[in-house]
């Protein structure tokens, strides 16, 4: 299982690109952190999610 934004998902073996596409995230509008390390956009298609990993997908929202 891989934790994505706090939710457990059965997606071990998928790449970051595949995860973003599956979940409907726009790659150009998000940043991805895998086990506390930023994943550069150029590595989305080669970075494979392992069992037990934790992924954060973030974007900008309004704030002060």
């Amino acid at each position: 299982m891989v934790k994505v934004n706090g939710n457990e998902m059965d997606i071990a073996g998928m790449t970051v690109s595949e995860l973003l596409e599956k979940e409907g995230y726009k790659p150009e509008k998000v940043a991805v952190e895998l086990d506390l390390e930023i994943v550069p956009k150029a590595q989305y298609s080669s970075c494979i999610l392992k069992d037990g990993s934790s992924v954060e997908v973030v974007s900008f929202v309004g704030g002060g």
């Binding site: 726009k26 929202v61 309004g62």
Partner: protein, 257 residues
């Protein structure tokens, strides 16, 4: 009046001294808010992306406006650094407003953690704009840590209570050789004007606009107040008499000759 009076932060020049927040109001109002505020810097927050939410704030911010992501939600330096790095990865520059709060009741910034985060992020090439409780020693630590400005609070975030920390902000303005940007708690244009008269380099406001009856109109009012306060500061305020009075016209006294 010709405007050669630029605000310089991290080597970038700004004509506007009104930093606009983008929280707590409709994305559809952002363009009007930026326009009426005359803002060139706008703050944003970083949150877990929601796939169902197809609206993206970046689509609503006019081109040419510099983005200032904040680290709200961070409770310590480590979390603030994480958020700042993610914000930079979002690809909108390297400005960051550090905001670290341990306390959820008063939302007061943790000055010690803020200094730590400033040091780390400045070394990584960020233009660091730390939000802080107005304390001279902390401000000096922030200067040494590589901050690009110092952002003292006027009163608690979102309170619209105005310059509760007035005298301590004045000390920072007088002693710190970086732009002092009054952030948080400014509720009215008159308070923004007063901060600028004191010599603040800029004012940041969000809630005052978000909770106003007519947001774009209030943005316009703030812009005018900030410009007026800046002009007053640059022109040099007239002196205050400790006691007594001083006539504005020559007392010829002819009626009594």
């Amino acid at each position: 009046m010709e405007n050669n009076d630029k605000l310089i932060i991290g080597g970038r020049e700004f004509n506007s001294r009104f930093i606009l927040g983008s929280g707590k109001y409709s994305l559809k109002l952002i363009e009007a808010a930026v326009k009426y505020a005359g803002a060139e810097l706008i703050t944003l927050a970083v949150r877990r992306a929601n796939t169902k939410d197809h609206e993206n704030i970046l689509d609503y911010i006019p081109k040419g406006v510099t983005l200032l992501p904040n680290t709200s939600g961070a409770r310590n330096a480590e979390e603030a650094v994480r958020i700042a790095r993610l914000a930079r990865e979002l690809g909108c520059g390297d400005f960051v407003k550090i905001e670290i709060m341990r306390d959820t009741k008063y939302l007061l910034p943790d000055n010690a953690e803020t200094v730590k985060a400033t040091e780390i992020l400045a070394k990584e090439g960020f233009v660091v704009m730390p939000y802080m409780y107005p304390d001279l020693n902390t401000a000096r630590d922030l200067v040494n840590a590589g901050a690009a400005s110092v952002m003292p609070l006027a009163s608690p975030i979102g309170s619209n209570k105005g310059l509760a920390t007035r005298d301590f902000i004045q000390i920072l303005i007088d002693e710190i050789d970086l732009p002092i940007i009054v952030d948080a708690g400014i509720g009215r244009p008159s308070q923004a004007c007063e901060a600028m008269e004191m010599g603040a380099a800029a004012v940041m406001s969000n809630t005052a606009l978000a909770t106003a009856g007519d947001l774009p109109m209030m943005a316009d009012a703030f812009r005018k107040a900030i410009e007026a306060g800046r002009q007053a500061y640059l022109s040099g305020l007239g002196r205050v008499l400790v006691r007594g009075a001083s006539p504005s016209d020559t007392l010829t006294g002819f009626l009594h000759d």
